[in-house]
Symmetry: C2
Subunit: 1014 residues, 2 copies
């Protein structure tokens, strides 16, 4: 004889308690939304009211339809579903004879077991149930007594009501009533309690849960997790009767809504444990949980179970080991579709179809047709975020980002300045570069459309300046003035481009172009980092053929050149010192070079003495920096230390590395090359000031002719700026504040003009630095329920990091005393790290890797499911060829035309439409992230299959779940239960005295008045 009692207590005093702890209506906003979805369905249901009456005979309703109908009923105040915390308790011996209810598992979203003996919570895992137990559970609910909407005051009262009901229906013998009652009211022991106490056990354990997982996300949702389910499960013989209860109870202040009690013979302990896990897992199911709240009778619950069964995934016994605990997946598909009925045409009535956002299909890139229309829209779009752009920066992560990128940006700016200084004979050098970068950067960070972009110097600009300077010197023109006029023209043209919404052309830059460009820039970055290291090998030459035994004989001394060249003689002539008076062998390296001396000795290299240790030390610094920063960055995913510590270490990874390496370098003392920052804020060249006349000494027509090179510059700047902006704004980054291509270009144009007038270098978006910036500001969700995987939420979009980086850069002049300790190899190591980490997520490299993999080892990339491998390879080869060509151009003298060549990529991509189908290209070349694609996989597959056949017959008409629901009535079950009873009656009752236990004091349950409704 199975007896099941099901209670749902909804009480008048109850609501007040809820308000007291700020809980009950937190979820209403979300639920309203669902109602909208149901409105249509309800209307339909209203028409066929006869059907609603026919609920008890579900011959035509599938469980799914029934569930949808149940969920469609109006929420009354008492039946609002809340998020649940579920726990399972088992009646157990403890300290010899005494019973108690011991918590053995809990659920927030995933299952956590008490590892008894281990005395701790297991890792959260996906509850793998056996179908067998689910059927057993179904049988329990089918045959037991279900009591809904019971109004009870205390647990004692509930127990009494249940027992009354059972005895009245003849399911329980009056004689053992007291024993059962005593067992029901035994005290509860919770895993987190040190001592047992059944005062407010649930509250305590719930508080623990809250404490353990108190993150912003959970706090936000705190209002929702206001109910808890208490599952009490045990195995217990009472004169051979199997007694199964399902109870709802309200314990204050955390109300207990549902109570499922299962009593039975001892031998069934593992079986009952599995049934308990099944009902608990059901309660964590979004749909069944709502059904449980709204159920009006036993059949509603059965429908809920059937609907659940209809949705489960099954693992075959021979292919899976059920004892493996499955880690919670990265994401779980939404269960909302189960709640919404399908219309005959297969569409959902919500009308909320997912907006299929195309590539760059945002409003940002629509052509307005008005002058400055795009710019105005950009400003309108970004203005409301301006304040939050500063408030959102209140995070330690931003500080980490500032320190990292400040260190990373300094060196390229200074190096660029140095190279420019060499090229222009000191007209524009390090200090101008630093000042220009700082000025442009500050203005850009404050007002640009996408302040996450970091501005920097680019190779093509350097090449252009070189050519220009050479031209000016050859034709006797004033370089700075001509440069200024070109700059002003360029700025003007940029603004013309802004005015005409030219940035909307950006939408032609597809993933193909974008990735080829990004890959190239990253590779160049890595290449340059390594090249700089190799370059150190030339500067710091070491003696390859040292004979350690002869070290005493080694030296490299300065000496007078024996046959001084003409140049040397000339130099000597210029000196105000007589050559004869020079004590050659006492000269230092610099002096020797100054006096054109000759190095002589076995320790001399080509350009001076061999320099010991520096090169190898630099190599050590370089690679240690790279590996250490990579290691610290990945520290987030390690198991050690609390999450907070790990994520902080991860955020500060690069800065920490730099600090550590500077310290080590200082301690070891090897004179490795250091970062040199100009110490004074004044123009490098004495002939120039901070403002340059665009005409200067040049003829007037140069002002007009300057427009021609300006055109080239404009393309150069437009391409570099916008393609980087596209990379930063890509969908994978989940930016929420929108982009602003027009505003970006406008700011760049304006600052280009300013820089030109002030004789400073020009700056545009720097790809690798910008990607590193974005990567350093990634925000991941902290898990809300135990076991939920952290999700990438987006980027910390704000203006402060960019601003501070460039403010600090401007102030660098005053920080030389600190900066001079930073070894250059460390910074090169940081570049290598940035280059390598920027390569992540570039599909192009994944595809290149495929070349080296046998087909069976290839990862399950989504595009490989739909595009033949050889076509993927062809696509990769084309892209690779483009990349190599681009590199050749960039490395050659024609580097200035590089941006134009990037433009060519767009056309090549266009040509590829000829040899690839549109479907193939959609898989290989768009911006959808992998994960999203996989979700749509199934959908598309179905569509495809339908296309592959010829008819489209409504699949909802012949619904086998209908049949299952009917078979699932299990008419034979009562008979089998009778059989079971007979079998059990043959067993002799063992140790019946163990049933006799003292009645413990009942748990404190208040503010509840009783009123049984069933």
């Amino acid at each position: 004889v199975c007896v099941i009692v099901f209670f749902s207590t909804f009480l008048t005093g109850h609501r007040a308690v809820y308000i007291g702890v700020h809980v009950p209506f937190g979820k209403q906003g979300r639920r309203r939304h669902r109602h909208r979805g149901h409105r249509h369905h309800r209307r339909k249901k209203e028409k066929e009211t006869d059907r609603e009456d026919g609920r008890e005979s579900p011959s035509y309703d599938t469980p799914s339809q029934r569930v949808q109908f149940i969920l469609g009923t109006e929420d009354d105040d008492e039946h609002i579903p809340h998020d649940l915390f579920t726990e399972m308790d088992e009646l157990c011996f403890r300290d010899g004879e005494e019973y108690e209810w011991k918590e053995t598992a809990r659920w927030l979203k995933f299952e956590e077991d008490v590892e008894d003996g281990g005395d701790r919570w297991s890792k959260p895992y996906v509850a793998t149930l056996s179908l067998h137990s689910l059927f057993e559970l179904r049988s329990c609910i089918l045959n037991g007594t279900v009591m809904l909407d019971m109004r009870a005051n205390t647990l004692d009262e509930i127990a009494d009501m249940v027992l009354d009901n059972m005895i009245a229906s003849g399911q329980l013998d009056e004689s053992i009533r007291e024993n059962v009652r005593a067992a029901l009211l035994k005290r509860h022991h919770h895993q987190n309690e040190k001592k047992f106490s059944n005062r407010i056990p649930l509250v305590r354990s719930f508080a623990d849960i809250g404490k353990k997982h108190s993150d912003p996300h959970l706090l936000e949702r705190n209002g929702e997790i206001s109910c808890s389910v208490q599952f009490v499960l045990t195995c217990y013989i009472i004169k051979n009767f199997v007694i199964e209860f399902m109870l709802t109870n309200a314990l204050v202040p955390v109300p207990t809504r549902f109570l499922f009690l299962l009593l039975g013979p001892a031998g069934k302990a593992p079986q009952y444990h599995e049934i308990g896990r099944s009902i608990a897992t059901l309660m964590t199911d979004d749909v069944f949980h709502d059904v449980a709240y709204k159920a009006k009778d036993r059949n509603d619950l059965l429908s809920g179970i059937d609907e659940f069964l209809d949705q489960v995934t099954v693992l075959p016994p021979g292919e899976w080991d059920p004892s493996i605990r499955i880690e919670p997946p990265k994401s779980v598909p939404s269960q909302e579709k189960r709640k919404i009925p399908k219309f005959p045409n297969g569409s959902t009535p919500t009308g909320e179809t997912l907006k299929e956002e195309g590539h760059h299909a945002g409003p940002e890139l629509e052509r307005t047709g008005r002058l400055f229309g795009g710019l105005i829209l950009d400003i309108q779009r970004k203005a409301p975020f301006f304040l939050s752009d500063f408030k959102d920066a209140l995070s330690l992560q931003c500080l980490a980002s500032i320190l990292f990128l400040y260190c990373a940006c300094m060196s390229p700016v200074i190096t660029f300045g140095g190279l420019l200084g060499e090229a222009t004979q000191g007209r524009i050098s390090a200090i101008e570069s630093l000042f220009g970068a700082s000025l442009t950067g500050i203005a850009y960070s404050l007002f640009a459309g996408q302040p996450l972009t970091i501005l920097g110097s680019t190779g093509p600009v350097l090449v252009f300046e070189k050519i220009l300077f050479k031209f000016c010197r050859d034709y006797g023109l004033s370089y700075l003035s001509l440069r200024t006029s070109i700059g002003l023209w360029t700025a003007f043209l940029c603004i013309v481009l802004v005015a005409t919404d030219a940035s909307s052309l950006v939408c032609y830059i597809t993933r193909f172009t974008e990735e080829a460009f990004a890959a190239l820039i990253c590779i160049i970055f890595i290449y340059e980092a390594l090249e700089k290291l190799f370059h150190l090998g030339e500067v710091y030459a070491f003696n390859m053929h040292n004979n350690l035994d002869r070290l005493t004989l080694y030296s490299c001394v300065c000496s007078e050149p024996q046959n001084p060249s003409n140049e040397t003689l000339k130099a000597w002539g210029k000196m105000n010192k007589s050559v004869e008076t020079i004590a050659w062998s006492n000269l230092t390296v610099t002096e020797c070079l100054e006096f054109h001396g000759v190095f002589h000795g076995s320790a001399c290299g080509h350009h001076g003495p061999y320099i010991p240790d520096v090169l190898f030390w630099s190599v050590i610094l370089f690679f240690t920096t790279f590996f250490l920063s990579s290691f610290l960055k990945q520290f987030k995913t390690k198991r050690y230390f609390p999450t907070k510590v790990r994520s902080t270490i991860s955020d500060f990874a690069v800065f920490l590395t730099i600090v550590i390496m500077v310290l080590i370098d200082y301690l070891v003392g090897v004179p490795s090359p250091k970062l040199h920052v100009p110490e004074k804020f004044e123009p490098t060249h004495k002939d120039r000031g901070w403002f340059i006349d665009p005409l200067g000494g040049n003829p007037w027509w140069t002002l007009l002719v300057a427009a021609v090179p300006a055109l080239l510059c404009t393309i150069l700047i437009f391409m570099d700026q916008q393609i980087t902006a596209v990379i930063i704004n890509r969908k994978e980054h989940k930016l929420k504040k929108g982009c602003g291509y027009h505003l970006d270009l406008f700011m760049v144009g304006i600052m280009l003009g300013v820089c030109s007038i002030m004789g400073l270098p020009w700056f545009v978006a720097a790809t690798v630095l910008s990607i590193s910036h974005v990567n350093s500001l990634k925000v991941e969700s902290e898990c809300s329920a135990p076991g939920e995987q952290p999700k990438f939420l987006g980027i910390r979009e704000q203006r402060v990091t960019g601003l501070m980086i460039f403010v600090l850069m401007g102030l660098s002049v005053f920080m030389t005393s600190v900066l001079k300790f930073i070894p250059m190899p460390v910074l090169y190591g940081v570049f290598l790290y940035m280059g390598v980490s920027s390569l992540k997520g570039i599909q192009f490299f994944d595809r290149i890797k495929l070349f080296g993999m046998p087909a069976k080892h290839q990862p399950d990339l989504i595009y490989l499911r739909y595009v033949p491998l050889w076509k993927v390879h062809i696509f990769t080869v084309i892209q690779l060829t483009c990349l190599v060509l681009l590199w050749v151009i960039k490395a050659s003298a024609a580097a200035v035309v590089f941006p134009m060549m990037v433009l060519a990529l767009v056309f090549i991509r266009k040509l590829m439409d000829l040899c690839f189908t549109k479907r193939e290209l959609s898989w290989l070349d768009d911006l959808m992230p992998e994960s999203k694609k996989k979700k749509e996989d199934d959908k598309k597959k179905k569509e495809k299959a339908v296309i592959c056949l010829f008819f489209s017959v409504d699949p909802s008409v012949v619904n086998i779940s209908d049949e299952m629901a009917k078979t699932a009535q299990w008419k034979a079950l009562s008979m089998s239960t009778e059989n079971a009873k007979v079998t059990r009656a043959n067993l002799s009752p063992e140790k019946p005295e163990s049933v006799k236990i003292n009645v413990e004091d009942s748990p404190v349950v208040k503010y509840v008045d009783a009123e049984t409704s069933l």
Copy 2:
């Protein structure tokens, strides 16, 4: 109207064909075994024959019982189950109008889909089914026509018979017969075919499978995979009739046994696809597959499905994304238990309970009580393997192992010799060490009980020799002679230990002791590798305060000491050269040191000139070696290159690294310290020969007194030898040829005597080298079915690697020209690698890691489930304390007593019984591998739960699966099918003309004569 036809063709001519391809009875051996298990059950069944007659009304049988009964029936020759290859074909359009059957998925053990578009096979994955489709499948079999044991000649014939049957039963309209027939006989397109052909498609595709996965494992089982299942699935409207076929067919030479055909409306394509996957997965299930072979009627099949359903694991929809393809697990629990009926007392009738092997419980360690009893048993046990010990070495892996360990062993032996030479003033030095190691190693490898152990030199021996030499010098005794007599005593004592089976005491060495020892040795190994590197920093001092500008002024020249010390004057006196004639400033470093000159100059360190570059270059070599060898070793698990290439690279990892590093070092040219091997084979000291007189010049009583230190030596050697042997013989290594502790010790003792007489150092088992040796010989299974994970099979047990390592070592004297290129830092890097890799798998370190992890991040280690965390921590702390104490002893002057202290660990472990329960210790301290424990997890859990309650009622009496089987009769189903028919009849037939297709030529099916039996 659903029609299902089920055929099983078993033919007279058939058997001859089987024999022709050597396939059919390959599995019989294994199957006989199962019969034994069933004998009991059959006898029971024979008694209740009335029950067998009652098969058609399964009211009392659970599906599980029915399945067990079906499997218990006698195998007749026609119904022997074979391993199956299953494929699913879907009827599809291709090239416009034409139909064909396209292969869309296949199963050997796991599912592989044709990724259409992708045009390739997916990765094998665990087939996650929906319960819904499984129910639909059940409904198909319940309502369709099942034709078993059909005897047909060709596919045409089968089609005709099926159609006849359907038309006769009124399930198919005569008018569309020809269309259906044509569809059935359409040609088949297989994924691996370039052109379509329906000649022998199955053969070809099966051959492909065989080729792809042709590994020794599969070849062995080749006889078993002799059948294939062809699933033909499509969606197809024929005048609104749903027609579902299940066919068995035999195609030659690979017979097709089962054919499941499902025809239905186009809209149901995805649904039917899922049903197809369900039946295919069922067919890969061990139990259902046997049931399908033996089924006598429809109900048997239904029971098979129900039994399968009863065993499945269910994933709740809200916690899992069904589109995730689950990787096949490492291992799958055996399904045999499902085939064997349980007796009422819950035991299985096989009688084959798993032998619970305790720790070291093998016969090797039992005390015989006879003189040399253990040794004789060891020899008897190992002798039969002696030949295979050489044959088994025929593998590239062994070559890799030889090269790796030769390089690894050389340096310690030579270093040890050098240190011994220093300690004994050249009495015993490098060449003796090399010779002794080679001699002992060869003898040991040839005749020892465990030839996987590598002998080497140990610290305590060195300390002992030092003390002995000092003692002899102080008391004027002949060191070599005294040493020889001690050695001979030690050898004698060792043999006494062998004679008394003392090695059986090894069983007291538990995991606790073993891991503490192994951890200590590994840490010391790592520490020493790093220490040696640091030591280089002293030898190769660099100038920490270089001023690069003043490099021209730096030098370090030899000069005459201004105030020569007495010692110096004495040395000068000895020289046959006048001090005045020495050109001090022209002296090299060696000469300067020889003449007691003084180094003078700004480039001088404490002991001579600063040595540039060497130290930093050594650091680079050291770490590069470590990381490169680790990287190459892990290459096995990468995705690139074919498996063969990867595993070869992985095997040769260390040797490859050494070769690469030697080349790089040679090219860079920095004079890093190199390995110096003695060039001549002669005793270092001129006063000694190769044979030493045990008495020599010593008084006669030294021969007797020598027994006292010999006692110490014996313990020292016994402990070092046996604990390493325990580590090598641990169960995790899955050794198959057994161990031989007595024989090991015997060989060590004998060789110790030989070495003593020849004046060579003593050698015992070296822990880290031995572990590295074992690790380098690991054998993993190649996967047999696609998707099966490789399993660790064992160690390549043989004598050749050990032998060759020591033979090469002996020949090293003649290879100096090559060996002198090997830089020492590279070898130190190899030591670091060996130390670190030997740490793997030591549970102790896993437990130490737990200290740094918050509880929620801790891995799911099996012992954490059963032992409270704080107790685990206490256990770890005790072990750690022991380890630290041991280290202190080893590092101190008392190093000689170190082996005794290891013995003390055993007693500490014994004491721990007081504060830990036996159960806790069984989890923390035994040799069972993790994986095995997890399997037993469930079992123990159940037992525990039963213990926690009081009664043991037979759980098999009330079996809910009985109820499920009855409900699963689905009485309502026929009604619902009727309903579906009515609904469908309302739909207009769409495009009925598409049914009209040409009849293709039928597949070639021969040697089969027809005889329908149903």
